[in-house]
């Protein structure tokens, strides 16, 4: 057991570090370090422009999408090299957030199902950040039950005509392209009537409306489709095989290994080290210590679990199923930490003005953002289903819609 790099890994790390020292936008280090929950706030800078610039700089030097083949704008690097990049990119990695869905989820789907010409046309510009992609999956009637989606695609000549509505689409307003899952046959059971496409987000008939979230931010959108036409050549996979295609996308919706996991622990530790409560400094209070120990043990557990995954990659193995616990643990913990941190401050804990509140109101921002962490990318409940079914091998829940044609499934309205 040892924690040091191999000789090759160490050399690669030095190469990355040197390049980052010489090329990273260091004027953004401070604002990015204190930016956190929700949208990136960089006073005096346009986050989208900065993100695109950093992505372009990386791509030109061969540091974008490291694991992709060189032909598609990547570096052909190994998984462990990609992890080392994530570790070294550190805080600047936050700038890549708006590319995560395109590069992390749309790209693997395109690589598996698009034609060679399409891959050559779209992937390099996705890698370099010149074009931004989004993923049009969730609907008002299909979130956790994604296969219950209703957006229709009907064949008309060489085109498909799309009508319906998507929701919770991150970055749709910045996107040039998107991958879209639709229902092409409502008369067969729900998983069998779906088909996947990619489309130009500037197509006629698309209407993008930002959602004002519970925390006041607007990171997501509703996307309406009114007779939007997509050429059949932009279909991904066979007609009716959309569910299978979507699994390729969703399999890639996993924790980016090597990046840091936000739990809120450093924030609450900083707070209780200073904060005065009735019994004295908060850190000396037994009730505070008990909770702090629990949260530290959990955050250390996540960090050490990630280290095991990195170790497996380093040996050329596939990380084990324990990596499925990350978001489930971190999401709930973040919410608990935020709530307790405010609680210790009495009424002043309610203040959200970063100029006045302790710790620049990061814990208050965490309180208001954390409910979403427990929902997006798989709710706590869906994640527990996945762990119990795929890891522990427990039987599937009984489903009321199994084998029933989609248009006969009770919908409650």
């Amino acid at each position: 057991m040892e924690f040091s790099d191999t000789k090759e890994e160490a050399a690669f790390r030095v190469e990355i570090r040197t390049w980052i020292d010489n090329n990273a936008p260091d004027y953004l280090f401070e604002p990015l370090s204190s930016s956190g929950f929700g949208s990136i706030q960089i006073d005096g800078f346009d986050p989208m422009a900065e993100a695109k610039q950093w992505q372009k700089t990386k791509a030109e030097a061969g540091w974008a999408c490291l694991q992709w083949p060189k032909d598609y704008g990547g570096r052909g690097a190994t998984p462990i090299e990609s992890v080392i990049w994530n570790q070294e990119e550190g805080v600047y990695g936050q700038l890549s957030r708006m590319f995560i869905i395109g590069q992390g989820m749309c790209a693997p789907t395109m690589m598996t199902f698009a034609s060679e010409d399409q891959k050559q046309r779209y992937l390099p510009k996705l890698a370099s950040g010149e074009e931004v992609w989004c993923q049009l999956f969730s609907e008002p009637h299909g979130g956790s039950d994604l296969a219950g989606l209703r957006t229709r695609a009907e064949k008309d000549g060489d085109d498909w005509v799309i009508n319906g509505q998507k929701i919770w689409t991150s970055g749709a307003q910045h996107s040039d392209f998107g991958i879209l899952i639709t229902r092409t046959d409502p008369e067969v059971p729900k998983h069998r009537g779906l088909t996947m496409f990619f489309l130009d987000m500037k197509s006629v008939g698309i209407d993008i409306r930002p959602i004002k979230q519970a925390n006041g931010d607007s990171g997501f959108n509703e996307v309406y489709f009114d007779n939007v036409r997509i050429p059949d050549a932009q279909r991904l996979g066979e007609v009716g095989e959309g569910w299978k295609v979507s699994l390729t996308t969703l399999m890639n919706e996993r924790l980016a290994i090597g990046g840091s996991i936000t739990t809120g622990f450093p924030e609450i530790k900083e707070l209780v080290d200073q904060l005065r409560i009735a019994s004295g400094t908060a850190i000396n209070d037994p009730a505070v210590r008990s909770k702090l120990a629990d949260w530290y043990a959990k955050s250390a557990g996540l960090k050490n679990t990630a280290a095991r995954a990195i170790s497996a990659l380093s040996k050329g193995e596939t990380p084990g199923p324990e990596n499925s616990i990350g978001k489930l643990v971190a999401g709930g913990m973040m919410q608990d930490i935020a709530k307790f941190s405010l609680d210790l401050q009495g009424l002043s804990g309610a203040i959200v003005d970063p100029e006045i509140a302790a710790g620049s109101a990061r814990l208050q921002a965490m309180l208001m953002r954390s409910p979403a962490v427990r929902i997006e990318g798989g709710t706590d409940q869906i994640l527990r289903n996945i762990i119990s079914e795929r890891v522990l091998g427990l039987p599937e829940d009984m489903r009321a819609d199994k084998g029933i044609p989609f248009n006969k499934i009770p919908s409650g309205n």
Binding site: M1, F265, A293, D294, Y296, A297, A300, I310
Partner: protein
């Protein structure tokens, strides 16, 4: 980075697992729980023959010197099989205290016998009905004689030698006493297979172990090291309790379907898995810190201890819940894990004490 155990260590673990699987089923535990035996002599002997007791003891003192990573994996198997043997007291506590604080002569006298399993050791601290603090210790060691009563000594019933925390002049010291001529009474605890005894010393001969007045701080070091190995026992137990719950939930039907298909139970077991995996990763790191005498040991040990305690308590508790009423019968084995998990939680001081130690060990800027 190679954050994993070596193939050699895993091979030894596998041998211990196979031995315990074949020789240390629930029947062994029950023969101690319900019968006259205070521990399973056959399992103890079998472990001796494999050299397991001497895993981390230097070869100069009769051990195998295979290191702590290997010992941690052995602990995981002993915990998984709820082995009713005095291994933890003898090896994680007594042998560790003697190795850490003993004179050359004491090491030469005791370590080879502990390593071979010929002698069973333990550690005696608690005197009153509360979490011990230095002021509680009234057992005295004066002019080579021990006097006083230790209320609950794990494996005190069968131990041959004991490390005792005792008052000397104006401080606390560790002393080493053979248990040939003392009064010991069995004391009932939540886990009767832990051989707990109340031991009374009356002018019993003993020798200082380490420096005088150093007892409390040496004890704390021994506890930190032992915490890692106990955490692996807890991890092993937690994993088996979860396996048991999952196995039962797949087979037991109610309302016309396997109960494991109900989300109320699936989610409970998913949470058990999460606790188990967090503990496992923290245990791995603590094993590394122990083996390498890392500066980080106090924090790593407390972290492993806290999360392994949580995991074993959760898994053993909810294993009963998954089994429903049958889980609360004497006949079903669920209570064996529940008993062991609650005893192991307390054996080095309770969870609250370890939470406190964890926070004390945190660096100032976390």
């Amino acid at each position: 980075m190679n954050f994993d155990f070596s193939d050699d260590d895993k091979m030894v673990q596998d041998q211990i697992n196979r031995f315990l699987r074949d020789n240390c089923g629930f029947g062994e535990f029950r023969s101690v729980l319900e019968g006259e035996a205070t521990y399973s002599e056959s399992v103890w002997r079998g472990l001796s023959e494999m050299g397991v007791q001497g895993t981390a003891i230097p070869s100069a003192y009769g051990g195998v010197e295979a290191g702590y990573l290997s010992l941690c994996l052995a602990a995981r198997e002993l915990g998984a099989h709820l082995a009713p043997v005095p291994f933890s007291s003898s090896i994680y506590l007594a042998a560790e205290a003697i190795q850490g604080a003993g004179s050359e002569a004491q090491k030469e006298e005791w370590l080879p016998k502990l390593a071979s399993g010929q002698v069973i050791g333990t550690l005696a601290v608690t005197e009153t009905v509360q979490e011990p603090v230095p002021e509680d210790i009234t057992t005295t060691f004066v002019n080579g004689k021990l006097n006083g009563t230790k209320l609950v000594v794990p494996h005190g019933l069968m131990a041959d030698v004991v490390v005792v925390l005792a008052r000397t002049n104006d401080g606390l010291s560790l002393v080493l006493a053979p248990l040939s001529d003392v009064e010991r009474r069995s004391i009932d605890t939540v886990d009767p297979t832990m051989g707990s005894a109340t031991i009374t010393f009356k002018d019993s001969p003993a020798k200082l172990l380490g420096q005088p007045h150093d007892g409390w701080s040496v004890l704390s070091t021994v506890y930190n090291r032992a915490a890692v190995m106990f955490a692996f026992e807890q991890l092993g137990g937690a994993e088996r309790a979860l396996d048991m719950a999952v196995g039962y939930a797949k087979e037991r039907f109610a309302f016309g379907r396997p109960i494991g298909s109900f989300q109320a139970l699936k989610h409970m077991m998913a949470d058990m898995y999460v606790a188990l995996k967090l503990a496992e990763s923290n245990c791995y790191y603590a094993a590394w810190a122990l083996q390498n005498d890392s500066d980080d040991l106090a924090l790593a040990a407390a972290t492993a201890r806290v999360s392994a305690t949580q995991a074993f308590q959760l898994c053993s508790r909810d294993n009963i819940q998954v089994h429903g009423g049958m889980g609360f019968t004497w006949e079903y084995d669920c209570h064996l894990y529940y008993r062991r998990s609650n005893y192991l939680t307390l054996v080095l001081g309770g969870l609250s004490a370890w939470e406190d130690k964890l926070v004390s060990a945190l660096p100032d800027a976390a």
